[in-house]
């Protein structure tokens, strides 16, 4: 097997771990990190494909990193705001926003 295959399997694994973490964990910080993990697994995939498809995929990686940075700023700010209010970051306790 070639290096691309191993790397893609790694990236799929990382994505699955991230997804599982988002679905299963209740701590907002952990979920947040899992989302970052998923984003980075996608980045890895893009880098792998850039070998065969050209440099454009790597440009996409920079975009994703930029968006992830912005998202991290906003997400962390929200989490801090919630923490200041409730003094905990368990997302199951934040269920007021419904019908």
């Amino acid at each position: 097997m070639e290096i691309e295959t191993y790397t893609l399997i790694l990236s799929a694994l990382l994505f699955a771990i991230g997804t599982a973490g988002v679905l299963l964990r209740r701590n907002a910080i952990i979920m947040f990190m899992c989302i970052e993990l998923m984003l980075n697994s996608v980045n890895l995939t893009l880098v792998v494909f850039s070998r065969s498809l050209g440099i454009e995929a790597q440009v996409f990686v920079f975009f994703v990193m930029a968006v992830a940075a912005a998202e991290a700023a906003v997400g962390l700010a929200i989490i801090i705001a919630i923490f200041r209010h409730y003094e905990l970051v368990d997302v199951d306790r934040f269920n007021l926003l419904k019908w």
Partner: protein, 677 residues
């Protein structure tokens, strides 16, 4: 503004050289101004009785004066064609152009004279009758408005303007029947009149549509001139049109089957009964049939139906009148009966006789109603003084009033002999003209019916007089001393109408009885208007015999009928004058035939069972099934379906981030699976 005023005051443009209408717009404007002033008064100076007392009657008397001037001008010129004053175009849509046209011809002038003349007298009388009423100003505003619309009705130069007046008088009738609207029964009597009239108005409207489709115009002059060429004699169109017009007439003029509202209309003040429900509005149907005489002359089937309904109503209502105890109810049924005579006359084609009876009836029936109003007024005042609550309308509570109310007694006797048709009073000439025409035109059955009705008329009117004015007084020993003759403002109108009830008939003295110089005056007067209709009838084999069905000429039957009427009056008087009646409170309900007649042949009950209740059941079905079930049901189903979907959707909105994530991921996986597989 100047143009507008000028349009009201200018004289006719299309009139013949001889006759120009005098101040045509002002005739209408005066009652309207009276209505506005009194109507404002009802809001602004409710307790001021002086303003309506002056403005109300004066507006009408002013209109009467102008009408008289017009009459004199027309009598001098005797134009052959009607003078039409076009004020402005009301509406012009496609081929339809309706102008506000006022038609001045011999027929409309006659009607205007009767309407404004009788109205003037009744307005004056009302000052006395309504003196103590809190709605005084409102009363006069309605009454003025009524005269305004009645004048529009008779002056209108096309069917549409006539219809405006037709609806307007219906409105005023409704307002005045329910004048004492605090009384639930009175208010619903007004409603009944309004609803029953709607049925007739529907016929009138459809007839108008038919006329417009076939003639392309609604103007009287054009329609009647074109009718003999445009329509087929006796054809379906003209028959249907006239029958629908007649349906309108049965509503407004209280004929079978729509007469039921008129007796209930007696809930209104008595002068209103005299003016609207005896003298003027209810005769509008007769006027309309006479006005459309050409159309009716072209439809023999319709004519036969009009005549038969008229004669049937005359007899039917007269039988009911013989057993009523409410003095106004007797007169109401008498009115229905006399209107039947008029329809009999216009139905057989004796238009002049019908209009003649309309006029004399306006005099003597207004007199009788105002007389009964005087009695009711006196009884009411007396009961009021001793704080009793007996019915002042019930004749069983009257009796022996001739000594305390001699003027009312005398004038009402004049009205009675006039309506009974005794020489030389007005009713003799007009009714005899109708009976003679019916006989000599060959309608044997209707002729017999009309003679029978004449005898019944004499009987029930004499009964009314005996019960009210003769015998012992039954109002109670405490009440009796308080019964007084009415004031001059009320008895002077009675006297005026009594004189008219005598001389009113002398306008049309039959040729066979040349007792006065004015032989056939009315006939000659109306000839320009009625000639086309007579012409149509003459062309199609109409001829008048010189003998009644049993033989004998006009003079012979005139003598027979007056002797017969006199005989019935005397017989009834002698039979009843010594009979003892007990007051209404102590009387039992009549039984047997008298009971059937007292209960008006149970027609109201029949209508209730056959028409009203099935209709109500049908409407209730529509309400429950169509409205509640189908319309509301489908809307409700839509609403609850939407709510259901929303509820299912809301199940996903748990507020838990993990839940959202789960569905989100599931969705992504599902979409990926669909894309890849």
């Amino acid at each position: 503004m100047v143009n507008f005023l000028e349009s009201f005051l200018r004289v006719a443009q299309h009139a013949e050289a001889g006759y120009h209408p005098v101040l045509p717009g002002l005739i209408l404007l005066l009652p309207l101004v009276g209505f506005v002033i009194n109507g404002l008064g009802a809001f602004l100076w409710r307790d001021n009785k002086r303003v309506p007392s002056v403005v109300g009657p004066l507006a009408i008397i002013g209109a009467f004066a102008i009408v008289v001037a017009n009459f004199l001008a027309m009598r001098g010129a005797m134009p052959h064609d009607p003078a039409v004053v076009s004020l402005w175009t009301w509406m012009a849509v496609g081929d339809l152009s309706i102008g506000v046209d006022l038609q001045f011809d011999q027929l409309s002038i006659l009607m205007m004279l009767v309407v404004t003349g009788v109205s003037s007298v009744i307005h004056v009388y009302s000052i006395g009758y309504m003196r103590a009423d809190p709605g005084y100003s409102r009363y006069f505003s309605y009454l003025n408005l009524f005269v305004f619309f009645m004048l529009i009705l008779v002056m209108g130069g096309n069917f549409a303007i006539m219809f405006v007046g037709w609806e307007g008088v219906g409105l005023c009738s409704y307002l005045l029947i329910g004048f004492w609207y605090e009384n639930r029964e009175f208010a619903s009597a007004g409603k009944k009149a309004f609803i029953v009239n709607r049925i007739g108005d529907f016929g009138f409207l459809v007839a108008m549509f038919l006329i417009f489709t076939h003639f392309g115009t609604l103007n009287f002059a054009e329609v009647f001139a074109a009718a003999p060429e445009t329509l087929v004699f006796g054809g379906g169109v003209v028959t249907l049109t006239t029958l629908l017009l007649f349906l309108g007439a049965t509503g407004k003029s209280a004929q079978i089957p729509l007469y039921v509202w008129l007796p209930d209309a007696m809930a209104g003040p008595t002068p209103v009964s005299a003016l609207i429900h005896a003298a003027t509005m209810v005769t509008a149907g007769v006027y309309m049939v006479a006005r459309s005489g050409v159309l009716f002359a072209m439809a023999p089937v319709s004519q036969a139906i009009v005549a038969a309904v008229g004669a049937g109503t005359a007899l039917f209502a007269a039988t009911i009148a013989t057993q009523q105890y409410d003095i106004k109810k007797v007169l109401a049924y008498s009115t229905v009966s006399q209107l039947g005579y008029m329809f009999l006359a216009v139905g057989i084609g004796a238009f002049t006789a019908g209009i003649f009876h309309l006029m004399t009836h306006a005099f003597f029936k207004a007199l009788l109603f105002l007389g009964s109003g005087a009695v009711i007024h006196a009884m009411h005042e007396a009961y009021h003084k001793v704080h009793r609550h007996d019915d002042p309308n019930d004749m069983r509570n009257h009796g022996g009033l001739k000594n305390v109310m001699p003027i009312t007694w005398a004038t009402m006797w004049i009205g009675t002999v006039a309506i009974a048709g005794i020489f030389p009073f007005a009713g003799f000439f007009s009714k005899d003209e109708i009976i003679w025409s019916t006989g000599s035109y060959g309608y044997v059955v209707l002729w017999v019916v009309s003679i029978l009705t004449a005898m019944l008329t004499a009987a029930y009117m004499t009964r009314l007089m005996v019960l009210t004015f003769h015998g012992e007084n039954r109002s109670g020993a405490d009440t009796k001393p308080y019964i007084r003759e009415v004031p001059a403002v009320m008895w002077v109108p009675l006297a005026i109408l009594a004189v008219l009830s005598l001389v009113g008939g002398w306008l049309q003295i039959p040729e066979a009885l040349p007792v006065l110089p004015a032989v056939d005056a009315l006939h000659h007067w109306l000839e320009p208007v009625m000639e086309p209709a007579r012409h149509v009838m003459m062309e199609h084999g109409f001829n008048q015999a010189h003998e009644a069905p049993l033989g004998g000429g006009e003079a012979a039957w005139a003598i027979i009928s007056t002797v017969l009427a006199l005989f019935v009056v005397i017989l009834t008087f002698r039979a009843l004058v010594h009979r003892r009646y007990s007051p209404a409170a102590e009387s039992e309900a009549p039984t047997g035939i008298a009971g059937v007649l007292y209960n008006k042949w149970y027609v109201d009950e029949l209508y209730d069972r056959v028409i009203i209740r099935p209709l109500l059941a049908l409407w209730r079905g529509c309400w429950r099934i169509v409205d509640d079930g189908i319309i509301d049901g489908s809307l409700n189903a839509l609403a609850s379906g939407t709510r259901m979907v929303g509820w299912v959707g809301s199940l996903f909105q748990t507020g838990r981030v993990a839940g959202y994530m789960f569905w989100f991921v599931t969705g992504v996986v599902l979409i990926l699976a669909l894309l890849l597989l």
